[in-house]
């Protein structure tokens, strides 16, 4: 009797704990494409590039109709928000049930390349879309690990620039935008008073933290990974770079402590509403317009460097930001998918899509068009071609983003609470992140 009772209790315990443990899997991907009644249909997962997902449908739908008219291939479009896109791709990778064509953040390129789920762009595949030489070389540098065929091709390019509020600069008696960090800190101190801060940042956003920390570390001669792909987070240059970034809030006090918890583009709205005088952002123009700030109210300059002018090596002032387009290797419509990628990267489509999204075409011939010679895009174009560098193209990149991005978020939390952010504190946080990479 007692045995039965104990057994029943154990069974109840197992049933309850199993029910509550909630160790479920990820979401399933959508079904793969299928050919029906002679016409081919492919599935395309687009990233959210517009002001909303609905906006993306409005932008892309006429272009897809154009493609169908040209080729007879129907494209089933699904626009996926950034918060879900990577998880959806991972689910599609594991289940083998995914789209034919997908947009990816270009920093994920090497990590997704390592999964083996995406079609490698060998010379032959490249020639089917017009050849590798059509693409801008800086954008191609962010398509996968070196020495292996890339598994994605550039679709939209972006770079960081410094946006500054002209009226606030005039009021503070500052003639022009800062070119070095020392100048930025000095200008920031003049601009910080009465509820206005010199600079707005997105302190709780993991991607933003990583993008800036990468540039700061580069400027101190550190790459976060060595040539064989091993993490070097605790090298002095990386520690100095991260510390300098966090100390814009901690020591220079030109950033509102409230920014430490920003991760929903609040820094853009603070800049647009005049609560902050400077902002480092990728092609913020359309975003600022949506917040009611007209192009005449702000100026655009390259992000500062330690000294001298932006360039390569320790004078890098932006990551190569952008979106790549990839084909799932197990697609049953590879030829149709390649045709679609060719269409999306064609000069004509690049002109249409880049102008609608405010991005820069990664195609050399399209880039020369006068329509991309606006003050904003001229600066971004110049940064991209002369002083931007791709984030480390190593398989562990996504892990690096998560671990180091979180470490920087914690450091900003310390700075916001008024705790000094010493080199030792930064070193400890980065060392912990590095050990978890190796683990």
């Amino acid at each position: 009797m007692r045995l039965h009772r104990t057994f029943a209790l154990a069974a109840a315990a197992i049933a309850t704990a199993v029910a509550m443990a909630g160790c479920g899997g990820g979401s399933t991907g959508t079904t793969s494409s299928s050919g029906s009644s002679g016409s081919t249909t492919i599935t395309y997962w687009a990233s959210d590039q517009g002001s909303s997902i609905a906006d993306d449908y409005t932008v892309l739908s006429p272009e897809l109709a154009k493609f169908q008219k040209q080729t007879g291939i129907k494209v089933k479009l699904e626009v996926i928000g950034w918060a879900d896109l990577l998880n959806r791709i991972l689910a599609a990778t594991t289940s083998g049930q995914g789209p034919d064509v997908v947009n990816i953040g270009n920093t994920w390129s090497a990590s997704l390349q390592a999964t083996g789920a995406l079609l490698p762009w060998t010379g032959q595949n490249f020639s089917s879309i017009g050849g590798e030489s059509r693409f801008v070389s800086s954008a191609l540098g962010s398509t996968g690990a070196g020495g292996k065929p890339p598994t994605a091709v550039p679709l939209y390019s972006l770079a960081y620039a410094l946006y500054y509020n002209k009226a606030l600069f005039r009021q503070a008696g500052i003639a022009g935008p800062p070119a070095t960090w020392a100048e930025l800190a000095a200008d920031g101190k003049k601009l910080t008073h009465g509820g206005v801060y010199g600079l707005a940042i997105e302190g709780a956003s993991i991607p933003e933290n990583i993008h800036h920390a990468f540039v700061f570390a580069k400027q101190h001669g550190c790459d976060f990974f060595d040539s064989s792909g091993h993490p070097t987070f605790t090298m002095p240059g990386c520690v100095q770079g991260v510390q300098q970034f966090v100390n814009l809030m901690g020591a220079d006090k030109i950033v509102n402590p409230a920014d430490a918890q920003y991760d929903q583009n609040q820094s853009v709205s603070d800049f647009a509403s005049g609560k902050a005088a400077m902002l480092m952002w990728q092609a913020a123009g359309s975003n600022l317009k949506a917040h009611g700030m007209s192009p005449g109210q702000y100026g655009i300059a390259p992000v500062p460097v330690q000294s001298g002018a932006p360039g390569q090596g320790t004078s890098v002032d932006s990551m190569v930001a952008g979106i790549n387009i990839a084909i799932f290797k197990n697609s049953r419509n590879l030829a149709a998918a390649e045709k679609f990628v060719k269409f999306m990267t064609s000069d004509g489509e690049q002109m249409v899509l880049s102008s609608k999204y405010g991005s820069i075409p990664p195609i050399s011939s399209a880039l020369q068009s006068p329509q991309f010679a606006t003050p904003e895009l001229s600066v971004l174009r110049n940064v991209l071609s002369t002083s931007a560098a791709p984030l480390p193209q190593v398989p562990g990149e996504s892990q690096f983003e998560q671990l180091v991005g979180t470490a920087i978020k914690n450091l900003f939390a310390d700075a916001a609470a008024g705790h000094p952010v010493s080199a030792q504190t930064v070193q400890q946080q980065l060392a912990s992140a590095q050990q978890q990479m190796s683990g």
């Binding site: 009772r5 104990t6 209790l9 154990a10 109840a12 315990a13 197992i14 309850t16 704990a17 199993v18 509550m20 443990a21 909630g22 160790c23 899997g25 990820g26 998880n87 991972l90 990778t93 594991t94 083998g96 990590s111 997704l112 390592a114 999964t115 083996g116 789920a117 709780a204 993991i206 509102n256 402590p257 409230a258 430490a260 918890q261 991760d263 290797k329 398989p395 996504s398 892990q399 998560q402 671990l403 991005g405 979180t406 978020k409 914690n410 900003f412 939390a413 310390d414 916001a416 609470a417 060392a431 912990s432 050990q435 978890q436 683990g439």
Partner: protein, 274 residues
């Protein structure tokens, strides 16, 4: 779950995602990494486990206390009792995501309601407080969890109280028992079977709660509020090391099994002896 256990013995990293069945066997390596408390991964997991235990103990304790106290106070008939009960149950009836995101807005540093009241209106704090960063994030997490779960305790205890015969209270009153003595000697012993299940369910819900911390803090929880459900999610989905994440999940499952089993055995023995 079986697949989860299977994966925990595999070195399933991003390199094998597309052919995850072909990932090499890792033996107990994932478990060894997870419980190696001298290395960063194990230390982080242990820290997260301790935080989760403290969070669960506080949140379950307070939810039970508030729920029971409110149920006892609302037991006697008075004007507006029905309305009050309905109001008490509101947090439980609201969709989790919507209510937690509202709390996240209220906890904002510069324009949140809580800082507005505490700092701007009442002047309790000398400067606005960060509720979603640093040490205070733990307080924020416990607050939201208690707010969400206490109505459930209230509901269950209220139902339990209906089953206690009025005669027991009348008899104890004749014997000279005061309110406290009635609660201690009549109410609580009668509620024991109810409480046994209630505390267990609250424990499991709170220990595994993913939505509340995830919605409050996003992908990267602050260290003082780094509870285990989000920690494991980060260890697998964000760093793409599914083998290690699964090993941590299995360890969590074993821990919950152990606690649940021990709890049921101890409480049922006590009931038999009572």
């Amino acid at each position: 779950m079986v697949v989860g256990v299977f994966i925990s013995f595999k070195a399933l990293t991003q390199l094998y995602l597309a052919q995850w069945r072909d990932a090499p066997w890792a033996g107990l390596a994932n478990y060894r990494i997870a419980v190696d408390f001298n290395a960063a991964v194990g230390q982080a997991l242990l820290h997260s486990f301790v935080v989760t235990c403290a969070f669960t103990a506080l949140a379950v304790g307070l939810s039970w206390l508030f729920g029971t106290a409110a149920a006892i106070l609302a037991q006697d008939r008075f004007r507006g009792r029905g309305v009050l009960r309905a109001v008490f149950l509101t947090p439980y009836a609201l969709p989790v995501y919507a209510s937690v995101i509202t709390w996240a807005f209220m906890f904002q540093y510069d324009n949140g309601l809580i800082n507005h009241v505490l700092h701007d209106e009442l002047g309790v704090t000398s400067r606005p407080t960060f509720w979603l960063l640093g040490d205070n994030s733990f307080i924020a997490l416990v607050t939201v969890s208690v707010w969400r779960n206490w109505p459930f305790a209230f509901l269950v205890v209220m139902a339990g109280l209906q089953a206690i015969p009025r005669e027991l209270y009348e008899a104890s009153a004749i014997d000279g028992a005061g309110v406290w003595q009635q609660i201690r000697r009549v109410t609580m012993p009668s509620l024991r079977p109810i409480n046994q299940v209630l505390v267990l369910v609250l424990f499991l819900w709170t220990f595994n709660d993913f939505t509340t911390p995830y919605v409050l803090f996003g992908n990267a929880s602050p260290q003082p509020a780094d509870v285990i459900s989000v920690h494991i999610y980060q260890a697998s989905f964000l760093t793409w090391n599914f083998g290690e994440g699964s090993a941590m999940s299995v360890l969590l499952l074993l821990f919950l099994l152990l606690v649940t089993g021990a709890y049921l055995i101890v409480t049922s023995r006590r009931r038999r002896h009572a």
